[in-house]
């Protein structure tokens, strides 16, 4: 398991930091339609023959030794990306006004940091859109990007069908104490946030 230091200082381990924007900028239609995909926006219960509720991928990067495991869970309009190797999870909420919100959970500490709309861009949403294939009803077996940091390969390892497991993944994190990122500076005496302040935290890349 990674140490707190490694996790907080190691934002570059987030898969969508791997220059995913190189792909997304080539696909303006995808950018424009992200989160409008029925599979993502409705958990696919209504539009697909089989409910699409989750998947497990491995991500390998040409210039990196380690392979990262990523669990993706869908619940109604929300997406939860879990990185078990990092003990970090990210909840993406499309927002009632169409402006996505991010909550990043730290499983070892059972804490979370909330980002307000417009403070982040939602690359994971765009990525999920592509991982769900053209019809939004099946997880693609493999997706390869030729990014600036080298070739990245997403390989499907498992399709999650157990809705209870999906619900549990969400519920577990929703019990964590969370705080707005804007409030971190007012929590210097909190050991968790003090670590964040001192070490620095690299959030997902914004373009």
């Amino acid at each position: 398991m990674k140490s707190m230091n490694q996790k907080l200082a190691g934002g570059s381990m987030m898969p969508w930091r791997l220059h995913f924007y190189r792909v997304s900028t080539c696909l303006p239609l995808v950018v424009a339609l992200w989160w409008l995909a029925p599979a993502v926006s409705a958990g696919n219960d209504r539009t697909c023959a089989q409910p699409i509720v989750g998947a497990q991928y491995t991500l390998s990067q040409q210039n990196a030794k380690a392979t990262v495991t990523v669990d993706i869970f869908l619940r109604r309009t929300e997406m939860l990306w879990v990185f078990p190797d990092l003990a970090v999870a990210e909840l993406w909420d499309p927002g009632a006004s169409g402006r996505p919100k991010l909550t990043r959970y730290f499983d070892d500490h059972q804490r979370g940091i909330e980002y307000q709309p417009e403070e982040v861009e939602a690359e994971p949403a765009r990525l999920a859109f592509m991982l769900l294939g053209p019809d939004g009803c099946r997880w693609v077996e493999q997706l390869v990007f030729a990014g600036e940091a080298g070739r990245q390969t997403w390989t499907l390892k498992d399709v999650v069908k157990d809705k209870n497991a999906v619900a549990a993944a969400f519920t577990q994190r929703e019990r964590y104490l969370t705080v707005d990122y804007a409030d971190i500076g007012d929590n210097e005496t909190d050991e968790f946030f003090r670590s964040t302040i001192h070490l620095g935290f690299k959030a997902p890349h914004r373009h």
Binding site: G11, R76, T77, E78, D93, P94, G95, A96, S97, R99, K101, Y115, Q116, P117, E118, E119, V120, E121, L177, T178, V179, D180, Y181, A182, D183, I184, G185, D186, N187, E188, T189, D190, T196, I197, H198, L199, G200, F201, K202, A203, P204, H205, R206
Partner: protein, 559 residues
């Protein structure tokens, strides 16, 4: 020494004595008001370079005014029917100075000579901001000191230093009564305004008792604290009237009349069906106990108005409104620069202040109002001086609105800060150089270069997330989605005056930090003369109490 020069220097010395006399009413000698004797005419000519100079004249006038105030000054105990406490969260001395210059430059002046609304107040002093257990403080401890008269620990609300932060069991027996509660008992109307969440530390310290500032709603609390009977901060706000009446048997108060700020999520159940029309989240509420506190508040005050947007605010009839709870945002309200981007609209701090006073002054017994500009602090944490200064300027506008709406003979207005930030004003820019710009030295037209050969800005931060060039971005918090950039950047082609520019920071940190230096206290109205010198921050409570006889009035009501 030549006799003429001696006489001239005596004249100047006496003028200076007048300036110093403001500190002690017993030795006032308003010498500058007396016409010079015939034998001194030549002496006056000798110092004409001084006395004919506009700087000299203006300062002398100020001195004469101060001397007159000191001469006529009488102790103003109990003369303040109304008390308004403005708190610029994070508005340290350098922030006040920079905001003053920026406002002046926005008005077309050079800037440095400009005066913010509260800079015109006749009395000022300093407050030492440290918490009992912290050299550099936080808002919870500092605001508790200002509201209760007792310094306490960092991170706790309305309780003394015997508290163990986060331990619910240590709250009982350590609660502090606040100026707002005392005013309420005394029969005054009460109000709290904030551009932060209304459950955030500063506003919370006016009404709540909590072992942790972050217990804003029940979902923020550990289960053992809930089981032990501690109440979350939002619940304490809605139950304020009942809680206060339970604390002092036999009293009958009518609750906080005006509540305006952000933070709806702490008042609503975690259920999308309770979303407000301008919710930004799929599920706006955070509460896991199923309670809708907006509904509970409305049930307590059926004639009261619950509003969430600009339209409701505009429709408020201040003559007939008894109670109002306005929660304009799911979390904090927007920065002043970003206010126009809100879905349902948000009023400015000055508009909220004006409307609050119109409601509160319906009570002939007077009122207590706390107004917080809560997001100066947040923009500094984000390392964006432009947006922090614009919020400070809006605070100054709110103070002016209060001055305009009240009578200085019966209303004490205090403007202060809970703590400062590590923003500095440095380099050697020429007079009138843009306060947000790059340093251009006296006599030069090009930016001065530092030892590394690069231009630098007048304003920088000691620590934080560092440089950003985000153009005309109006939300300082966008910085949290970007990697930290510490140290120097080539600013040659960067517009450092834009709202999206974030200043360079020396020490990399995920969030810029508070500072530990003193903050200013600016006062106007009865009791203002008590604000002088360097004070412990908790003195502010005692000045408000003295000026308004709050405790005495409340004691008279208690059975």
């Amino acid at each position: 020494m030549h006799a003429v020069h001696k006489t001239a220097l005596t004249l100047m010395s006496l003028a200076l004595l007048g300036a110093c006399s403001d500190d002690d009413t017993r030795v006032v000698n308003p010498v500058p008001m007396e016409p010079p004797a015939a034998s001194n005419i030549l002496a006056a000519a000798e110092v004409a370079n001084n006395t004919d100079n506009a700087w000299y004249g203006a300062a002398n006038t100020k001195t004469v005014e101060a001397a007159a105030r000191a001469t006529s000054s009488t102790v103003s105990q109990g003369k303040a029917k109304n008390i308004i406490l403005f708190v610029g969260d994070g508005m340290g001395i350098s922030t006040v100075t920079a905001a003053r210059i920026l406002e002046g430059q926005m008005l077309g002046k050079l800037g440095e000579e400009h005066v913010l609304s509260f800079g015109k107040f006749p009395y000022a002093g300093l407050a030492k901001t440290y918490n009992v257990d912290a050299q550099t403080p936080d808002s919870a401890g500092t605001m508790t000191a200002m509201m209760s008269g007792v310094k306490t620990d960092v991170g706790v609300i309305g309780v003394d230093e015997d508290i163990a932060r986060g331990d619910c069991s240590t709250v009982a027996g350590n609660e502090l009564v606040t100026a707002l509660e005392i005013a309420e008992i005394a029969g005054k109307s009460t109000g709290i305004l904030s551009t932060a969440r209304i459950t955030h530390a500063t506003p919370a310290a006016t009404y709540a008792k909590s072992a942790d500032r972050n217990w804003e709603d029940v979902s923020d609390m550990p289960q053992n604290a809930i089981d032990a009977g501690c109440q979350d901060i939002a619940s304490q706000l809605v139950n304020f009237e009942a809680n206060l009446e339970a604390l002092y048997s036999g009293i009958d108060v009518d609750g906080i009349e005006v509540i305006m700020g952000g933070g709806r999520r702490h008042f609503l159940p975690k259920d999308a069906s309770f979303n407000s029309p301008d919710s930004t989240s799929s599920v706006e509420g955070d509460r896991t106990d199923g309670r809708d506190l907006t509904n509970e508040w409305q049930a307590q005050y059926p004639q009261g108005k619950y509003i969430f947007g600009q339209a409701g605010f505009d429709a408020l009839d201040t003559a007939s409104t008894s109670h109002v709870m306005a929660l304009f945002n799911e979390s904090h309200m927007r920065y002043e620069t970003d206010r126009s981007n809100d879905i349902s609209g948000e009023p400015s701090l000055s508009a909220m202040t004006g409307k609050a006073i119109e409601i509160l002054d319906n009570n002939p017994e007077g009122f207590f109002l706390m107004v917080e500009s809560g997001r100066i602090d947040h923009s500094h944490h984000a390392g964006n001086a432009h947006i922090a200064l614009r919020d400070t300027i809006e605070l100054a506008a709110a103070v002016q609105a209060a001055v305009d709406a009240t009578d200085p003979s019966d209303t004490l207005i205090i403007v202060t800060a809970d703590h400062g930030h590590v923003m500095t004003i440095g380099g050697y820019p020429a007079r009138g150089n843009s306060i947000l710009g790059k340093v251009v030295s006296v006599g030069s037209t090009e930016p001065a270069l530092a030892a590394d050969g690069l231009p630098h800005t007048t304003i920088t931060y000691t620590n934080g997330r560092g440089f950003r060039d985000l153009g005309n971005e109006t939300d300082a918090d966008v910085t949290y989605g970007l990697d930290i950039v510490s140290g120097r950047v080539d600013l040659t082609n960067v517009n450092t005056e834009a709202s999206g520019y974030h200043q360079e920071a020396l020490v990399p940190a995920s969030s810029e930090t508070h500072s530990g230096e003193d903050v200013g206290i600016y006062a106007y109205g009865p009791g203002a003369e008590l604000v002088r010198g360097t004070n412990e921050q908790n003195v502010i409570f005692h000045i408000m109490d003295y000026a308004g006889s709050l405790v005495t009035s409340a004691d008279a009501v208690l059975p």
